[in-house]
C-alpha cells in the first residue's frame, strides 16, 4: 500500500510503501554503524552485504584487512599446534565425554544388577538333581555358576 509522498519524484519509480520506508530507514541506520545490528530482516541483511561488497572494492580498509589477516593466521597456526598436546581442548572434551559415558554405564550396570533377584543359597537339590545330558548340567558346573553369580553381585554392589 502506497503512502502519500508529495515530495516523491515519480521518475524514481512508484512511491514507497510504509514498509519500504521502514526497511530503507533500517538500512540507512545499519550503514551508519561500524557493526551490523543483530536484528535485521534477511532481505535487509542481504542488501547490507551488497553495500559491504561495494565498499570492499571501492574503499578497501587496509588496516582492518591487515588486522583480520593477522588474527586469522594466528588462529590457524594455534589451531594446528594444539592437537599435539595431550591437554588440547578437543582431547579434553573427548576425555570428558568418555568419562561421562563410563560413569553412566557404571551407574546403569549397578542399577541393573540391583534390580535382579538375589541369588539364593545353595540348595540340596543341586546335588540331588538327576544328571541331565549336555554341557553345564553337571552338579559341579551348577555350583560354579552359583558361586560366580554371588561373586559378581558382591563385586558390583549386589544385595548378597
Amino acid at each position: 500500500m502506497s503512502t502519500h509522498h508529495t515530495d516523491w519524484n515519480p521518475d524514481d519509480g512508484p512511491a514507497p510503501t510504509a514498509e519500504e520506508l521502514r526497511e530503507a530507514a533500517r538500512l540507512a541506520d545499519a550503514l551508519d554503524r561500524p557493526v551490523a545490528p543483530a536484528v535485521m530482516t534477511p532481505e535487509t541483511a542481504e542488501i547490507l552485504s551488497v553495500a559491504g561488497r561495494v565498499k570492499a572494492v571501492a574503499r578497501p580498509d587496509d588496516t582492518a584487512a591487515r588486522a583480520a589477516a593477522d588474527r586469522a593466521v594466528r588462529h590457524a597456526l594455534k589451531g594446528s599446534a594444539r592437537p599435539a598436546a595431550w591437554w588440547s581442548p578437543a582431547r579434553l572434551r573427548f576425555a570428558a565425554a568418555a568419562a561421562a559415558v563410563l560413569a553412566a554405564a557404571g551407574v546403569g550396570g549397578r542399577e541393573y544388577v540391583r534390580s535382579r533377584p538375589p541369588a539364593g543359597p545353595v540348595q540340596e537339590a543341586v546335588f540331588d538333581a538327576p544328571v541331565e545330558p549336555g554341557a553345564g548340567s553337571a552338579p559341579s558346573s551348577r555350583l560354579y555358576d552359583h558361586g560366580l553369580r554371588g561373586y559378581r553381585d558382591g563385586l558390583l554392589g549386589g544385595t548378597q
Binding site: D7, V57, A69
Partner: protein
C-alpha cells in the same frame, strides 16, 4: 548533480570493463622474478615437510590478499569474511601436502579454497538465489594469471581489479539515479544529508532510493 564521468571511483590501473584483468595490459612489474618463484617453491616444499615457519610465511603472504580482495568483495561482511579466511587457512594447512606445484604459485590454490568456502557459506545461509550462485561460478571461472613469488600487494591488486571489473559492469546496468546514489553514499562515503541534497530529494526518499539501488545491484551482480 551529474554523474562523474569515467570510472566511478579512483582506482589505479583499473582495467576497462570487458577487458581481461590480467591480459596484455598487465604491468611488467606484476611478473615475479625467477628467484622469488624459487623462494616460494622452497617455502611450499618446506611446509609440506612440516616446517611450521615456512608455513607461517606462506600464510602471512596469502592471508591479506585473500581477505581484502577475494573474500570481502564477495561476502561484504567483515565478521563472516574473517571466519571464511580462518577456515581457508586451516583447510590449506591441513591439505598442504596435496598441493602440487605449478608456475602460478600457491596463491591460486588458496584462492580456490576461499571461493569454495564463500559458496558453501552462501548455500548454508540460503539467502542467495541461483543467479548469485551463477555469479560466484563466473568469478570462479574467471581466468586469473598469478605468478609464483609475486608480492602479496601485487596479487591483491590483481584480485581487486577483477572484483572492481565485476562491480563496474554490474553498476553499468543500473539507471543513472541508482548509480549516483550508490556512488555518493558508498563509493565517495558522503553523509546521507549531503547525498540527499545532491540528488534533490528528502533524506527519507534518499534512503528509499539507496535501498532500491542496492536491491537492483544485487540482481545485476547475479545476472553477470
Amino acid at each position: 548533480m551529474a554523474l562523474p564521468s569515467g570510472p566511478w571511483w579512483a582506482f589505479d590501473a583499473l582495467p576497462e570493463a570487458g577487458e581481461r584483468a590480467y591480459g596484455s595490459r598487465r604491468p611488467r612489474e606484476m611478473s615475479a622474478t625467477d628467484d622469488a618463484a624459487a623462494e616460494e617453491r622452497g617455502l611450499v616444499e618446506a611446509a609440506q615437510r612440516g616446517d611450521r615457519q615456512a608455513l607461517q610465511r606462506i600464510l602471512d603472504r596469502v592471508a591479506k590478499p585473500l581477505y581484502a580482495a577475494v573474500i570481502m568483495p564477495r561476502v561484504g561482511n567483515a565478521p563472516d569474511a574473517e571466519d571464511i579466511l580462518r577456515d581457508t587457512l586451516m583447510r590449506g594447512m591441513e591439505r598442504i601436502e596435496t598441493f602440487r606445484w605449478t608456475g602460478a604459485g600457491v596463491f591460486p590454490w588458496f584462492r580456490q579454497i576461499a571461493i569454495n568456502l564463500v559458496i558453501d557459506a552462501a548455500r548454508r545461509r540460503q539467502r542467495r538465489g541461483r543467479m548469485e550462485e551463477r555469479l560466484e561460478r563466473h568469478i570462479q571461472d574467471t581466468e586469473v594469471v598469478h605468478h609464483a613469488g609475486a608480492e602479496d600487494s601485487l596479487i591483491e591488486a590483481q584480485e581487486r581489479a577483477a572484483a572492481a571489473q565485476t562491480l563496474q559492469a554490474a553498476m553499468a546496468t543500473l539507471n543513472e539515479r541508482y548509480r549516483l546514489a550508490i556512488t555518493l553514499r558508498l563509493v565517495e562515503e558522503r553523509p546521507r544529508e549531503e547525498c540527499a541534497a545532491a540528488m534533490n530529494v528528502t533524506l527519507g526518499n534518499f534512503d528509499v532510493i539507496l535501498h532500491r539501488s542496492l536491491a537492483a545491484l544485487r540482481k545485476a551482480y547475479g545476472a553477470r
